[in-house]
C-alpha cells in the first residue's frame, strides 16, 4: 500500500529551484533514504512533505489524500507526520519529558498523568530512562536527538521524516541514534530520511534515492544504488563520498 506519494513536486525560493519535479512513492513500513550532496534538495523536500514549505507545483498524497491543496489547514496533517531535525530543536526551557508531552497535551488534550507512563516507557525503550527531568543543555547530543525522536513519536505519527539527524553528532554518538531508527523500522514505521550515513542507508533502507540539483537522478534498492549504480552522476557522487 502506498503511504506517501509525491507527484512532480516543484519548490522554488525566488528564482532558485530547489526541488525540480520530484516523483516518489513510499510504501507503508518502508524506509526510504535520500542521498546526495548538500544543497541537492533533500532537506527542503522533507520540509515540503511536512507542509513547513508550500510547494509551487505538483502534489503530495498521504494515504491517497492530497495534502498539498493550497489553503488546506496544515495542522491536522502535521500531527500525522513526525519530523526530526539535524539540530535537534528541543525546546530549551522545558525538561525532556515536558518537550515530549507538550504536543499531546495541547493538540490531543491528553493529561500529564495519562501521558507520563507512556513517556517513561518510550524513554526506557530508547535508553533515556533516567533523563526525564533533565533540560536539553544537560544532555549529550545523542540523548537530545533521541529525546527529539521520542517527542515526534509521542504524537503517534503515521510517517516519520528524519533530516540528517546524525550530522550534528560526534562520531561516537551516531550509533545510538541509528539504533533507534533500526528499532522503528522493525516496528513497521514508515520513514523518509535525508542522510549522509551511506553505510546505514546501504544496510537498512528499502529504497535509496540519489538527488542532484533538485531531481531524483536514480532510485532503487540499496544493492543497486551502492552495488551497481546505472547513472554516471550516482557513480561519481558515491566515489567522492565513499572515498
Amino acid at each position: 500500500m502506498t503511504k506517501l506519494r509525491l507527484d512532480g513536486v516543484v519548490k522554488r525560493f525566488g528564482a532558485n529551484t530547489v526541488c525540480d519535479g520530484i516523483d516518489l512513492e513510499v510504501e507503508a513500513g518502508q524506509m526510504v533514504c535520500l542521498i546526495g550532496a548538500s544543497g541537492a534538495g533533500k532537506s527542503t523536500l522533507l520540509r515540503c512533505i511536512n507542509l513547513l514549505e508550500p510547494i509551487e507545483e505538483g502534489a503530495i498524497w498521504l494515504d491517497g489524500e492530497d495534502i498539498s491543496i493550497p489553503g488546506l489547514d496544515p495542522q491536522p496533517v502535521r500531527t500525522r507526520i513526525g519530523m526530526v531535525f539535524q539540530s535537534f530543536n528541543l525546546f530549551p526551557h522545558m525538561t525532556a519529558a515536558e518537550n515530549v508531552m507538550l504536543a499531546p497535551r495541547r493538540v490531543h488534550g491528553q493529561s500529564r498523568d495519562e501521558l507520563m507512563p507512556k513517556v517513561e516507557e518510550l524513554f526506557r525503550r530508547f535508553g533515556l530512562g533516567d533523563r526525564l527531568h533533565h533540560y536539553p543543555d544537560q544532555l549529550s547530543g545523542g540523548q537530545q536527538q533521541r529525546v527529539a525522536i521520542v517527542r515526534a513519536l509521542a504524537m503517534r505519527p503515521e510517517v516519520m521524516l528524519f533530516d540528517e539527524v546524525t550530522s550534528a553528532l560526534d562520531p561516537q554518538l551516531v550509533g545510538e541514534v541509528l539504533d533507534v531508527l533500526r528499532v522503528l523500522k522493525e516496528e513497521g514505521m514508515t520513514m523518509v530520511l535525508a542522510t549522509h550515513e551511506m553505510g546505514f542507508a546501504r544496510e537498512a533502507a528499502d529504497k535509496v534515492c540519489f538527488l542532484k540539483d533538485g531531481r531524483i537522478v536514480e532510485e532503487g534498492p540499496p544493492s543497486q544504488i551502492f552495488g551497481a549504480p546505472e547513472r554516471e552522476e550516482t557513480r561519481a557522487f558515491l566515489a567522492r563520498t565513499l572515498k
Binding site: 513547513l52 495542522q75 531535525f85 525546546f91 526551557h93 504536543a103 493538540v107 515526534a152 504524537m155
Partner: protein
C-alpha cells in the same frame, strides 16, 4: 626582592611572577591616578569663587536633615505610582507586541493600531505626553475621581512605557530562532500554542535584563508627574526649596533616587552578565 618571590608554599612559575609584577604595577598606577584626580577635585572646587554660596545653598547639612523625612514620605507616592504602573505596562506592552504580528486579516486594524501606538508614544517626549493626557483628559470635565491627575498621569506613563516595552518584547520574540517555530509546528501545534508555549517563554527570559533597565527609567520618570499636580518627591522638594530658599532638598531627592536606582542597575547588569555567560 628575590627572596620574597620564592617564599610561597609552591615554587612559582616564571609566568606567575611576571603576572604578579604586572598586577602590582597596575594597582599602583590606578591608585595613584585616582588619588590625584579626586584630590585635585577636593582641593580645587572649594577654591572656586562661588563655592561657599553653593555649599550653603545645595549642600546644607541642617536643611538636609530637616527635609529628608518629608522627602522620604513623598517618595512613597513615587513608589506607589511605580508599583501600580508596572503590571499595566507589562500586560499592555506584551499585547501590543503580539498585536503587531497578527496575521488574521480581520484583525488588521489591530495591527495598524499597535504600529501607530508604538510610533506615537515612543516619538513624543514623556513630559509632553504627561502634560497632554494629564491636563487634557481631566479638562473634559469628568466626574470625580476620573478627573484626578494621579490617574491620568499614571496613564500617560503606562502608555509611553508600554510602547518601549512592546518593542523590547518584539525584539525578544524575533530573537528566538526560526527552527524552534518549525519544530513546534511540525508537532502539529497551532500558531497560538507555538507562540504561547515555545516562543514567548524563551523570548521573555531573554529580555528580562533589558526590561529591568526600562523599570529603572520608569522609576525616575515618575517624578515628571509633579508637573501636573501629585505631590511626589520632586514637587515636595520644590515646596521645601521655596520655603527655605535652599536647593539642598533637590540634592536629597537625587540621593533618594540613587539609593533605589543604583542597586537596581547593578542587579540588571548582573542579570545581563549571567545571561551572557550562559549563552557562551
Amino acid at each position: 626582592m628575590t627572596e620574597a618571590r620564592t617564599r610561597g608554599p609552591l615554587p612559582r612559575t616564571r609566568r606567575q611572577i611576571y603576572e604578579d609584577r604586572l598586577r602590582r604595577r597596575s594597582l599602583l598606577i590606578a591608585g595613584g591616578s585616582t588619588a590625584l584626580v579626586f584630590g585635585a577635585l577636593f582641593l580645587l572646587i572649594p577654591l572656586a569663587p562661588g563655592w561657599e554660596k553653593v555649599q550653603r545653598v545645595f549642600f546644607n547639612g541642617e536643611v538636609f536633615a530637616r527635609t529628608l523625612p518629608g522627602l522620604l514620605e513623598a517618595f512613597v507616592l513615587d513608589v506607589a505610582i511605580f508599583a501600580w504602573s508596572v503590571p499595566m505596562i507589562a500586560v499592555l506592552g506584551l499585547l501590543v507586541a503580539l498585536a503587531r504580528d497578527v496575521s488574521n486579516p480581520a484583525l488588521y486594524p489591530l495591527r495598524i493600531f499597535a504600529t501607530v501606538f508604538t510610533d506615537v508614544f515612543r516619538g513624543v517626549p514623556v513630559v509632553l505626553t504627561v502634560y497632554l493626557i494629564g491636563f487634557g483628559i481631566p479638562g473634559l470635565g469628568l466626574p470625580r475621581p476620573w478627573n484626578s491627575p494621579y490617574i491620568w498621569g499614571t496613564v500617560a506613563l503606562v502608555l509611553t512605557y508600554s510602547a518601549y516595552v512592546a518593542e523590547i518584547f518584539r525584539s525578544g520574540i524575533e530573537s528566538v530562532h526560526a527552527s524552534q517555530r518549525a519544530a513546534a509546528q511540525s508537532l502539529g501545534l497551532r500558531d497560538k500554542d507555538v507562540m504561547r508555549y515555545v516562543i514567548l517563554p524563551q523570548a521573555i527570559r531573554r529580555v528580562v535584563p533589558a526590561q529591568m533597565n526600562m523599570l529603572i527609567a520608569l522609576q525616575k520618570d515618575v517624578a515628571l508627574l509633579s508637573f501636573i499636580g501629585p505631590v511626589e518627591i520632586f514637587r515636595q522638594a520644590g515646596v521645601y526649596k521655596s520655603l527655605m530658599a535652599n536647593f539642598t532638598p533637590y540634592v536629597g531627592a537625587a540621593l533618594i533616587f540613587l539609593a533605589v536606582t543604583v542597586p537596581a542597575t547593578r542587579y540588571a547588569d548582573y542579570l545581563l552578565a549571567k545571561q551572557r555567560r550562559q549563552r557562551s
